[in-house]
Symmetry: C2
Subunit: 336 residues, 2 copies
DNA sequence: GGATTACATCGAAGCGCTTCGCTTCGAAGT
DNA sequence: ACTTCGAAGCGAAGCGCTTCGATGTAATCC
């Protein structure tokens, strides 16, 4: 193994000088710097991460904590994860992947053992068990998702309330007057995941602002569940022409079911979804949608964490504005 | 921060004794061990990972390396990742997530800086650039996927050749005589990803064994691409009754297209897929399928890596036998 | 021109842990 | 009773790095 002493010897300087060249924490003459950098390159030197962590009290690693409950939408999580890694690398940090299968103890462990300098928690619920644990952890952290009490925390999320409103506005602008929200499975509401409820309240607020009836229903993401939900919906509200869908896994079945019922999209029913863009684009017709900005969220989360690691204060709550992309699944309602 | 010295003092022993209690590398009397363990618990001691890595030359971390090309099937990758983390924890290791966006340099870095003791590479291609880099890396590794030359490596994968054969056998057993393989997008074959080609050769071998015609076609995973492929297929081979689909993203569109063409599944066309189980089960009708055993693969990969870390030799190539689950999408061909 | 300042570099301490070799002690063997 | 031996625990070295204070040297000031 090549050590800093080897590099120093090779460049004819003291080890500390090499260290300062690498960290830039003290002024070094251009000549010396060049010599050291050449030595580093020639010897293929990589500082020993453990030694560095020990001496500097900084591991240059952040933890990415996934919850391990079922019903998560894996592709979105993966996209997050990839973005977090990529962004962290831009700040010269690596990412340790932690799941909650050891429960909260895992957080304790990676933080207390100084493996990581800070943490990013994905998919935080309204009453997430990890949040209290986090509070007494002394390491900075950023949450993706919004728990009930955000004091002292740093949270990032899509503004789901605005997203719900935005969907309604889109449909109303097209002329729809009978609009329903097809939401997450009941279990998600019971768990008080936050974003489901926030979307719903945004939906309701917008609909009522326009003097329309607020129709919302949870929806299982199985084929049969979707069929049942949609059937009931149209039985109860036969003149429904607009659907807002906030349930990634239900979208495919839902479109199938609509077709099966002979209700054509967008001629007879307009559908606007809250889901990743790629999902919306793959459908036929492509779906009008508000995208889940996994990339932006991940990037923002890491950037905020880095700021905290540098000792800067941050906002408690950062909500990203929703962007709606109109595609082929929405149109004015057919004149009746 | 609580150090080993604090624990030692609290338990009335030397630091080295605490270390030996924790590692179990030397005999310690039951009484002392109990006292030390109590002290550890009371003080909430967690060994400093960096210090430990420095002194012991072991980081107790493995790298999980994802390729960053497009067209990967994210949910499967995520499932892998989760399994790898969970399994690694069982061996008291953590997982560093590495993407190939720094190219091969990222591997160099995490290995040379002693951040990780070994690596698991996901989704390895036939001519993967990471493989040569790996060879000169001195750290043990396990590949998921099979490159062209496996000498000196440890590879794990589904036996795609057998999977292709298995699908054919299933359809033939039901009585089908006209069977086509709908494969991955052309780009995947061009990249020589290995598994696509292996499935194809298994398919061809099995089909020819039964004296049938070998019909295979790549397939884009867009809606339009699938429509085009399927249309051409049935135009060229009108009496086709069996389809083997090895393209996760194409399955949904394909089923839609078949329905759109008025070809009912399984009454008129039987479809067997190679895809994750959950995907097969969510469809209506549920798909007969050979599953991608992400969980088993991940587990096997980590287990093999741990064995290598302990200095044991391992097989160059471990292929998991495919398991086919018959569901609602396959049936005997209708008597013509 | 001597004192002052800034700049560039060095040396050594120490981060928290593991590990090697040593000491001590009591039990077993002869 | 004396050696022998294994078990249990201790002490100190050292892993590779960062960082602080010190030192040497050259530029700057009145």
């Amino acid at each position: 193994m090549v050590t800093i002493a080897d590099v120093a010897r090779h460049a004819g300087v003291a080890p500390s000088t090499v260290s300062y060249v690498l960290s830039g924490k003290r002024a070094i003459s251009a000549a010396t710097r060049a010599r050291v950098q050449a030595a580093v390159r020639e010897l293929g030197y990589h500082p020993h991460a453990g030694a560095r962590a020990l001496a500097s009290n900084r591991a240059n690693v952040i933890a990415l904590v996934l919850p391990l409950r079922s019903g998560m939408h894996l592709p979105v999580l993966m996209q997050f994860a990839i973005t977090v890694v990529t962004t962290a690398r831009q700040y010269d940090h690596d990412v340790l992947l932690v799941t909650s299968d050891e429960g909260v103890a895992g957080l304790q462990r990676v933080a207390a053992s100084a493996m990581v300098d800070g943490l990013v928690l994905m998919d935080v619920e309204l009453h997430d068990v990890r949040v209290p644990a986090l509070r007494k952890l002394d390491r900075p952290s950023v949450l993706i998702g919004v728990p009930a009490d955000t004091t002292g925390l740093t949270c990032v999320d899509l503004d789901f309330m605005a997203a719900g409103e935005r969907c309604v506005e889109h449909l109303v602008a097209l002329g729809h007057r009978h609009i329903a929200l097809v939401g997450a499975p009941p279990a998600v509401y019971e768990r008080e995941t936050g974003f489901a409820e926030r979307t719903r309240s945004g939906f309701i607020a917008a609909v009522q602002r326009h003097g329309l009836q607020a129709i919302t229903t949870p929806c299982e993401d199985t084929y049969e569940g979707v069929r049942a939900t949609v059937t009931e919906l149209f039985a109860a509200y036969p003149n429904l022409t607009g659907l807002v869908v906030h349930n990634e896994a239900a979208i495919d079945p839902l479109m199938d079911v609509l077709r099966g019922m002979g209700r054509r999209v967008p001629e007879e029913v307009s559908v606007v979804a809250i889901c990743p863009d790629e999902m919306a684009e793959r459908r036929s017709p492509p779906l009008s949608s508000v995208l889940i900005p996994a990339h932006e969220l991940g990037q923002e989360a890491v950037t905020l964490l880095m700021r905290k690691l540098d000792g800067h204060p941050t906002e408690e709550l950062t909500l990203l504005a929703p962007r709606l992309t109109a595609r082929g699944s929405t149109a004015p309602p057919s004149a009746v």
